[in-house]
Every structure is written in structure tokens, then in C-alpha cells.
Amino acid sequence: MPELKVLVVDDEPGIRSGVSRILNNFRVAYPFMDEDFTFVVSEAATGEDGIAMIDGDRPDIVLLDNKLPGIQGTEVLEYIRNKSYDVVVAMITSYASLDVALKAHKYGATDFVPKPFTPQELKSSIENITKQLYLKRITHKMNEEGRKVRYQFLSVLSHELKAPLNAVEGYLQMMQERQSGDRIEDYATPIERSLQRIQWMRSLIMDLLDFTKIRLERKEEKIEKVYLKNIASNAIVTVRPYAIQMEVAINLGLKSDAVMMADPTDMEIIFNNLVSNAVKYNKRGGKVDIVIDEDEEDVILLFADTGIGINEKDKADLFSDFVRIKNEKTRNIGGSGLGLSIVKQVVDLYHGSITVDSVPDAGTTFRVRLPKKFN
């Protein structure tokens, strides 16, 4: 159970013991918290003692009287602010002059509890302070975690961007030093490979743009009636040259007209990624079946291929950033490792779901459900 440390700084012994008595049996609960907060109170009779205890004990909450025998409450407050301690301060004071109120506000006092106060007044004040403290700390924690995830994303990204540059640079050096001969024909493979790496890098950059778009865009303005049949046809047209090269047949099965409210670009992201994956990870002479269906609530999309499949172990990470399944069968297939992560994010945005069934060497089926109404 989380316990908050409260320090009461007041020269009146009655106030100090009163606060201790009231708060030692008090607990604060909120529906969004798993556990209740309880309080443990310590006391200081002067500002000087208060500062020593703040330095030593690091309380979470300080209840601070302004009129003290030595230094004043506002000076204690100023001290706390200068030290940047993570502590919430409430002033308890019998009369607040404008000057004191302004100073207290300037140094970040959270609350005023007028003296004399009833137990109920103190409790409701503490309840407010606790909630603020909790939210402040949880936000801080979430920001920290967010930063870490972003940092990892960037480090992998820079690896993915540097690898093709290194490869192309190496080939250019070979050519510069005329390592294989003086004729351009002597460098057919390095040129071919460089172009290939550059092309993969370009598709990574395109994926990155999609990725940023999903994260930054305001959706509401772009929602319109989308005919999924058209989106599917466009995706098929886009991937067709590649499919012909791979000798993969693509069939579109329409079990319904499937009209939904969405940003058409999002639906393009889903179809383009899943259709091109179905071709990319297929076998020569294989096929891809795309089925568009619906029930009462949702549009149901199926993307089935007859490709290399995914084993159970690899399925778990499939939708994470930069995850590419590395094995003998995928080594000559280029990709950013962002496609499925992007698809998943779009599906989540629409409160839909995506699942995968796969049998290694037989094929993979992705099933997407999207609510017809956007909310």
C-alpha cells in the first residue's frame, strides 16, 4: 500500500498533534488506483527544523504555517523550490495577506488550508493534494518510458538506414579503386546490388512517413465513406508488376459491398501492406486470396497466401517495430520491418482487431476486423 509522508510545520503544538491524529487513520482511494494511499505524519515546530527534516526525510506533502518564530513559511517554500524537491506544499494559515498569498503562489504552493480547520476540511484538502501528486508522478513516469521507447526506435532506425549506406559506399569504393577491372561491365553485380539496397531504403523511408502520419495526424477531419472494393483493387494494381515477376496470382473475393467510415489513406495502408506481404512472402506459382466480408458491426478482411508461413515463435513479435523474421527463406526479401507494426497501429486506431494464422511452408492468413462506424 502506498504510504505518503506528510510533514506539518507549525509552531502551535495543538495544530501539529491535530493533523497527526486526523491523518494517521485517513486513507485516500480513487477508482483509477489499485491501492489506497495512507499517511504517516512527522512534525516540526520551526521553519529551520522543517528544512532539516525536508532535507533528511524527503516528505511527499508539506503542510506549512506561514507565521513561524524564526524564518517564515514562504522562505521554507522558496527553499523547497530552489532544491527542486518533488513535494507538494499546502499553506496552513490563519490570515493570508495578499503579499503572503502572492509569494506562496509564486513558489508553487498547491493549496491553502485556512486555520482553524475542521478534520473534514483538512481531509478534503489532503485528498486533492494526493490526487495531484499521484497524477504528476504517473505522468512523469509515462514520459520517461515514452522517451526510452522512442530512443530505442531511433537507434534501430539509424541502424537500418546506415546498413544500406555502408553497402553502397563499399561498392562505390570498389569501383573507385577499379578493383574488378576498368570496364563498367566488370561492376554489374555491385551496381545491381547498390540499386537494390537503395530501393529498399526508399521503401523504408516511405514506411516511416506512414508511421509518422499515423502518430501525428488528427483523424476526425478525414473520415469519409470508403468503398473497400476500390481500395483493394488499387492495392492489387500497385503490387501486380511484382506479383507477375513472382508468378503469384491474386484473387479478390467480394462477399459484400463493405462500405465503412474511415480515412481512405488508412485503408490503403492496411491493404497495401498486407497484399504486398502476401506476394512478397509467397512461393513462385503461389496465390493470394483477398476476401472482403461483413457482419452486423464490422467489416471483415481476409488476406490468405500460400507462402513460406511463420512459425509459432516468430508470431509473438510479428507486430512490433522493426521486427523482421530472419531465416534462410527470408534472407533475400527486403523490408523495413515496419509494415505490420503500421498496420496494427491503424487497426488499433479504428478499435479493430488483427489476427494471424499460419502454417510454415503452407501459408499465412491475416484476418482484420474493423467497425463500420468510426468512433
Binding site: H159, A167, Y171, K326, R331
Partner: protein
Amino acid sequence: MKKSDFTILVADDDPDYLFQTVNNLGRAGYKTVAVESQAEAESVILKMKPSLAIFDLMMENDDSGFILCYKIKKKYPDVPVILATAVAHETGISFSLDSEAEKSWIRADRYLEKGIRPEQLDMEIMKLLKI
């Protein structure tokens, strides 16, 4: 000993980078064995003792290079190992998380940033092989 008396094992899952490294080492005069994965490297280590090994850090596992360092040093403590990575400073975080613990058992002799010039790589190798 001449450079051609040394066999260097190179493991990297980027086929282009592997090709170029092997090409450069060959031009410098070394014999090479090239493999594209941690698994292949492991089976090579079982069969032969290279004079030196260059491992990419991230192959089929994020720590493939570390694992290979450990395995080769266990079997042949005297074989120098170079760990090559394109992510030396970017992954500072993921390195530093366990690096103190890992340093005790990963004993790569050099960490090299990918993309170093062929002559530089050759110099590092000559130092390690004491040529």
C-alpha cells in the same frame, strides 16, 4: 608468417557487407571463410579453428555477436575476435544495460564501427595477429 597463412572467419547477415569485407580481406592477402548467420558460424567453429574472427553483432538474434564471442573464446581462447557493429553508439542504452555484467564473459578483443576503411581494418587485424 605471411598473411596468406591466416584464415579469417567472417559472419555477417548483410550479404553485401559480407561480400565486401571478404573481398577486402582477400585483397589484403588473407584467406577467408564467410558465413551469413550465427548458426553457420557456430558450425564452422566446431569444425575448424580460424586465425581470427570478425562477427556482426545483430544477426538472427540481437546478440548473435556476443554469443559467438563467448562460444569461440571458450573453444579457442587464443583466437582474437573483432565485434563489428553499425550501432555502437546509438545502442548505448541497450549495451549499457547489461554491459558491466556482460563484459565479464564477452571477450571481444576489438569493437569496430562498420564502415571503417579497408586499410584500417587490415591494420587492426595485423595488430591482433601480431604480424
